[in-house]
């Protein structure tokens, strides 16, 4: 390698050192991100309320049985009065 090539390379290396300085993020970003990371760790997964679902299904079933019983009663009453 020629001497001027060596000097040129050294000069480039020096300039590269000046070029890539660490850059500080915008004010508040570091703290804001840290808060977000902490909040994420505290996320609580809410489970569905199974008791409510069971109660709804049971009340629907009871209502259905009641309606069925009522219809049967009507049929029996009207059926017997016709006879």
């Amino acid at each position: 390698m020629k001497i001027n090539e060596i000097n040129e390379t050294e000069n480039i290396e020096n300039n590269l050192g000046s070029l890539f300085n660490p850059i500080a993020p915008q004010e508040g970003f570091i703290q804001e991100l840290q808060d977000r990371l902490r909040k994420k760790a505290q996320v609580v997964i809410e489970r569905p309320d199974y008791l409510l679902i069971v109660l709804l299904v049971l009340s629907g079933l009871a209502f259905g049985i009641f309606i069925y019983w009522m219809i049967k009663m009507f049929i029996r009453l009207f059926g017997s009065s016709n006879n």
């Binding site: 590269l16 070029l19 850059i23 993020p25 991100l33 977000r36 990371l37």
Partner: protein, 189 residues
Amino acid sequence: MNAPDKSKNNHDDVLDRAIGGDEEAFSILYQENIKKIYSYIYYRTGNVKDAEDLTARVFQRALKHITRYKRTKVPFSAWLYRIAHNLVANWHRDSKHKRELPLEDHAYIQSKSVVPEKQIEKNQQIEHLMRVVRKLSQDRQQLLILKYMDDLTNREIGAIMKKSEGAIKSLYHRTLKELRKKIDESQFL
């Protein structure tokens, strides 16, 4: 025990606690590395918005997978750089983000306030160099950023770029050669 040993043991202890799921320990690692990772991503993307977004994703991913982190001879920051590298690579791949970094945004311009003529000349050289660096391939730009911004060794850079120490050394020499050639060419234009 001398001071550097004590500091290393302390750092190892923090890392162990973070691997064990200690949030406070992870916060210490976050504080130690946030500026480096942000700077790296900023130089690779060229804009503040994407740098902030990708930096947040690096630490979210690190927090999620820290319990699976395996200790190696390279520093913990190499693992974070590796995550950042993957995210930046995806960012370049899946979009047309390859925007030129506005030179005015660079930190080195701050030194323009120092007026001496030699300084102005130096700044011009650096601005010119930045334009040339931007024309290099992604892996060559990455190598220069890691080498000059964080003073990482060839071995550490190799761990991040998944290349051997020798391959990094050779890539560095080829990069310098290409830079010299491109600078010479641009001076004749």
